[in-house]
Symmetry: C2
Subunit: 756 residues, 2 copies
């Protein structure tokens, strides 16, 4: 399968995955080890074998069976009662358990209530095995994926006419040739995308295609454009949907912003439920919209026929600026907003039922066909009826009101328009998390976007989109026309890069008819590039500059994220060399001479005492322990920590920090009363600081012997109510923060529970 | 010493402290153990001795000397470079180190810059040994402690006249008899407090006296009144100070609020520097104020003599309400605001140089004397000059303008008034943290108020006061007269309780002349009670209701805090019975039968394997270990954690959480390549949750064998830049949170550093 091979190349060639890489799998969070890493692992395992030769860890040593096999009695709730529902059962295999409960356990009563509310809103959790069942049939996919594209006709023609009318009502007649050009563009881009779906059967948005064919930076540029596009799709569609409502019910106009936020919240909840449920919810309105607009055409044509196809002249409107090429180009670029959403199918191929690419391609063809009919029909009908854009009522609303002067039909058209626009926003909720998933898998976005929620939806991406779109919606006051200039630039940037990428793709893969295919994509790319440049230049001051600034910033951010993950992978990899050479064996180095304590220490593992590099510590023999127990007061918490530390059987001592020598003396007397079972070290902190001297002392110990792993054992007071934490100094937490920068210093907190 | 014994009783009799309890010592954060606890400690120590009989921890086992003695080479900065300044040196004694640096180490570059700025603003840290040097001489104490009291004359007479003028200008003549009554009250209360200072030589504010003599609830009521008083002192004094400025320079009136906030910030910084520096800063202005007002008297009298002591009739003002008893009482209660601050000396006795009580008493006498002169003189002079309160200019400003129609003398009076008012706020900064210290020592306030900052100031209390006062200042728009009604109620509540407490005190302690002394305090208490009731009733709707509501709420909060600390002390004490019986020895209980793993486990300490109560685990023999290592991926971080866990030499196994069985199989193959050195348990999480199943699994392990201490070893990815944490899932942190409610589950984080 050609698609499979190509998809693999996406992943920068370093780690060929076992399965197809363009599908969504929960295992994406756990990338497998590559050969070099496996070789290193084998080598390290041998070193462990040598280290543990004399004292191999014995399974029978475990004080309880980790399989929980022999415990028939159900585990009882803990004293704090928060982990009450502990139900785990064995599957057939010996070393495998399956978790039945997916609830979040933390948070006590409030957390459980939230969990219940969550289940009520989102439905029961879905197992990973259900991924395949969550695919869409064409008839479901069409409304889910096309609402964005089709709903664009609700504001696209209006955006075009709103520019033309600036040159006076005489210029409105130009809408027909511009619309014809746009129809050509739609068909060209649609044909281009049909090829993309075929070439990338495992799902291929602009990001994947551009990354694959043009390189990662172009891919990221396309991704940045798409990210802006998706966010704006939500904002624009919700804004247009609300204005369809306020056109019908002008009394609601003051509530534009809260209404919009309510809608975004609803979309958020719907999408967190997962793909298929969302499809079901959203299928009817799209079909309703198509039917309503077609009905509008039919009645409109009948009425036009009634008056002998005599066009109504538009009301005279004075020209604000002269009719020049610039106005025509701006009108063209504005009208191109009708095409936003055409890429949805290409992105979402894996969400289709098998055979995915075939179903997706058919769906795409249908979508473009319907788009052309709706767009062309509306433009002609608006021109024919001599309608002019107005601030308080949308063009579509005017048209519907003229066509159906009274009765429920006008209400039907408006309701269908509103619904489909709100669902258009939903398309972005489908695509945005998918895009982020691919980017995260390539380490260009935070890896948390790889995580599938318990409803098999990418919850993190969905929430991120809802929050960003809501912010933009509020910032622009929910006004559609001020958002449009930002919109087209991002979309056509992604289109252009995606189509150019396809040209490169065909040139490289020279399959049958590759020249013809490349030509089709080249035409698409050229047309998209023209729209892109037109939109960016003619609308620069109107808001397009935001996109021109944001895209490079987003690309830089992605590259920075990637470089951080690269550094982390470098720091965590087992294989230091690409040929699989294991990390060098540690050797004795820079130990302070004349260390009388060293000689007396027994070698626990029968190995020569490995000093070891700081960065190694990979085998047990390399770890030399010293346990430090800071003790403030000899109470139960301190004795617990001391008992824990001592019982580990490793060298240990205690540290007491005192603000005054007198207090230190008093403490030492208590220590003697206890029996001085451990060495006690006292630090006088004359300036009464607590954390800094302790951290500096541990730092000094570490500096004196960097090869020793220092384990700092601190009791942690656990209180029942969160606000009670204010009453405690939380030494454990602060010490942990102060020490976390020191390599080789391990902090262990022994919890001590205060019941009230 | 009688005061010493009495002071000890304050501490509820449970832990008699070694030193005098009414002084401020940094050791207050480390209360010593009582006899019962010491006995329990000795008993527990014996159990340890038995447990460690065969394997006593050997000091020579330590891989390095905790004394850092044999390491002459200075410790080198760590790889992360944040703990660079590690300088510690030994004092003469063997087991004692002294920390030289008190800087906070955390926070990297920003933290170090903050530290430098802090030193610049606050000065170098002061050692605990410097506490005694920070005492005040009388001549320094007088201005520091009296500015509140003396500055009250800047708004007290005005508050009185502002009420009288409501009954028309004819009623203003009543100011003289009311003032006379207030002078009697001042002398009576002053005499009362002289006795308090004598009876409580270690410092005795209303809180201590009322707690000691009337019981903790009365003490807390007094404390609540004082807390409100201190906060309002800052707000009122700053407001009055700013209005003294705006009287002179009306152009500044619009900037009242920002100016006030600036002043509060200045006071905050000044007080964080510590007691003596604050005294030095603030001595001159108070003396200047006294001199300026006396000069005003002299010139005013001379002018009056010039016109033959003929009083000027006030301008006619229409009566808003009839002249009745209510108006007179309200005027009296308002005028009593001139007495706020009289308790400052009694609170601050320990800040005086030895002999403290004698110096304090002399200072108090001087203060009250000066107050009477200033208050009486101003009232007479205002009446004599026929002045009437106005909204845009203070009475004192009017008086000064009339007395010094031109030249620098008017400016001098206004400047001195402003300064002394701002310093009055400073009195609260001295007293508020002291009050909270006493309350915290009795467990009625968060214990962090016990902590002395590195300048020997109670930084936490100072910051708390500044923030609260600033909030109230902003809430009331910096307008003095609207704050006055809240003011008097809290103050006189504390006065009344304190004086009543003194009556009880003398009745109980029948020292020489106790009847006379009790009579003096009884008169003081009665007078204060009259003012309290008057103020609360007549000004209830004007704002006194806030205090009437807030005082009981504060008392309840304090009692709640106390009960939390009591519960904590109960949970942490070694002595379960008051007679010093040690906690019962643990015995074998409720262990699941047929546990084949148990038999094979070697007894590490030669003791019979102690199952042990959950709440015990106090000796090493009672701790039975099981180490659990959650592993997501076999990278360096995981191998570090595995090596650390294995090297502890305790029974250990690993857990892998997988979203799908296929991924689990893949992981097990890798585990086998590594060599399967540890037992591996796999949990399938079909709903892709990570933390919840792990926590539930650990909870199930714990429930299966509650006597086993589970140590969960997790690698923690440490990044250099804070925002990079967003790119990581922070499993360690979330797992720690989910597990902290489980007793007997210890979480150990092994840091792995990512350099970029």
């Amino acid at each position: 399968m050609a698609g499979r091979q190509r998809a693999d190349r996406n992943r920068d060639g370093t780690t060929p995955p076992e399965g197809p890489s363009n599908v969504f799998s929960p295992s994406a969070e756990f990338p497998p080890l590559n050969d070099a890493e496996l070789a290193a692992l084998r080598e390290i395992g041998r070193a462990w074998g040598a280290a543990l030769r004399d004292h191999p860890p014995d399974e029978t040593e475990l004080p309880l069976d980790p399989n929980l096999d022999q415990h028939d009695h159900p585990p009882t709730p803990s004293r704090f009662g928060r982990l009450a529902r502990v139900e785990m059962f064995r599957t057939g295999r010996r070393e495998e358990l399956t978790a039945t409960g997916a609830e979040n356990v933390s948070g006590g009563r409030l957390g459980r209530a939230t969990g219940r509310l969550r289940r009520l809103l989102l439905g029961p959790p879905l197992a990973s095995a259900a991924v395949l069942q969550e695919r869409m049939r064409k008839l479901v996919a069409l409304p889910v994926l096309s609402s964005d594209l089709l709903s664009s006709v609700a504001y696209g023609p209006e955006a075009m006419l709103a520019v033309l009318v600036l040159a006076g009502s005489g210029a409105l007649g130009l809408s027909l040739p511009i619309a014809a050009a746009l129809v050509v563009l739609m068909i060209a881009v649609g044909t281009s995308y049909r090829q993309t779906v075929y070439a990338y059967p495992h799902g291929a948005g602009s990001y994947l295609v551009a990354s694959d064919s043009l390189g990662p930076r172009f891919g990221l540029t396309a991704a940045a454009g798409l990210i802006l596009d998706y966010v704006l799709t939500v904002s624009v569609s919700v804004a247009a949907g609300i204005s369809a409502i306020t056109s019908a019910l002008p009394g609601l106009a003051p509530y534009t912003v809260p209404l919009g936020l309510l809608v975004i919240a609803g979309l958020l909840a719907g999408n967190l439920r997962g793909v298929r449920s969302a499809g079901k919810l959203f299928a009817a309105p799209t079909y309703l919209f198509i039917v309503a607009i077609l009905l509008l055409f039919a009645v409109g044509l009948a009425r036009a026929a009634g008056r002998g196809f005599e066009p109504v002249p538009p009301p005279p409107v004075g020209a604000v600026e002269g009719l020049g090429l610039l106005v025509v180009l701006r009108a063209f670029a504005s009208g191109a907003a009708s095409m936003t959403g055409i890429e949805a199918v290409a992105d979402a191929v894996p969400a289709f039922r098998p055979v995915e690419w075939r179903q997706a391609r058919t769906t795409l063809t249908w979508m473009v066909g319907i788009l052309v009919v709706l767009f062309a029909g509306l433009t002609v009908l608006i021109d024919f009826n001599g309608l002019v854009p107005r601030a308080d009522e949308t063009l579509l609303s005017q048209l519907a009101r003229q066509t159906f002067p009274s009765g429920p039909w006008y209400a039907l058209v408006q309701a269908a328009t509103t619904l489909v626009l709100l669902l258009a926003a939903n398309t972005a909720f489908n695509d945005f998390p998918r895009l982020l998933f691919f980017m995260a898998r390539d380490d260009y976005a935070p890896r948390r976007f790889l995580h599938m929620g318990d409803r098999l939806a990418f919850s993190n991406g969905i929430v991120a989109l809802a929050v960003t779109a809501a912010l933009i919606f509020v910032a622009f006051g929910g006004y559609t026309q001020s958002l449009i200039p930002l919109y087209a630039v991002g979309v056509f940037l992604a289109f252009t890069l995606s189509q150019s990428g396809m040209v490169m793709h065909w040139r490289r893969h020279r399959v049958r008819h590759w020249r013809r295919r490349a030509a089709v994509n080249a035409v698409g790319a050229a047309l998209c590039a023209i729209v892109l440049v037109t939109a960016a230049v003619t609308k620069f001051v109107d808001g397009a500059w935001v996109v021109v600034v944001a895209v490079p910033l987003l690309v830089l951010l992605c590259l920075h994220i990637r470089s951080h993950y690269d550094a982390m992978r470098q720091a965590l990899t087992l294989a230091t060399a690409p040929d699989g050479t294991p990390p060098p064996e540690p050797d004795q180095h820079d130990e302070p001479a004349g260390e009388p304590d060293r000689a007396g220490e027994p070698d626990r593992a029968g190995e020569p005492a490995g000093g070891g590099d700081l960065d190694v510590g990979l085998t047990p023999a390399q770890v030399r322990h010293l346990v430090v127990v800071p003790v403030a007061r000899l109470n139960l918490a301190a004795l617990r920590a001391l008992a824990y530390a001592t019982s580990l059987g490793q060298p240990a001592f205690a540290v007491h920090l005192s603000p005054e020598p007198e207090e230190a003396d008093r403490f030492r007397r208590q220590w003697e009363i206890w029996g001085s079972h451990l060495r006690l070290e006292t630090i006088i902190s004359p300036y009464r600081a607590v954390i800094a001297p302790l951290a500096q002392y541990v730092g000094a110990l570490h500096a004196a012997r960097p090869d020793v792993t220092l384990t700092v054992v601190v009791p942690e007071i656990v209180v029942r109510h969160l606000w009670h934490q204010l009453l405690h100094t939380r030494t454990e937490l602060r010490l942990r923060r102060a020490l976390r920068d020191l390599p080789g210093v391990v902090v262990t907190s022994v919890p001590v529970h205060v019941p009230e």
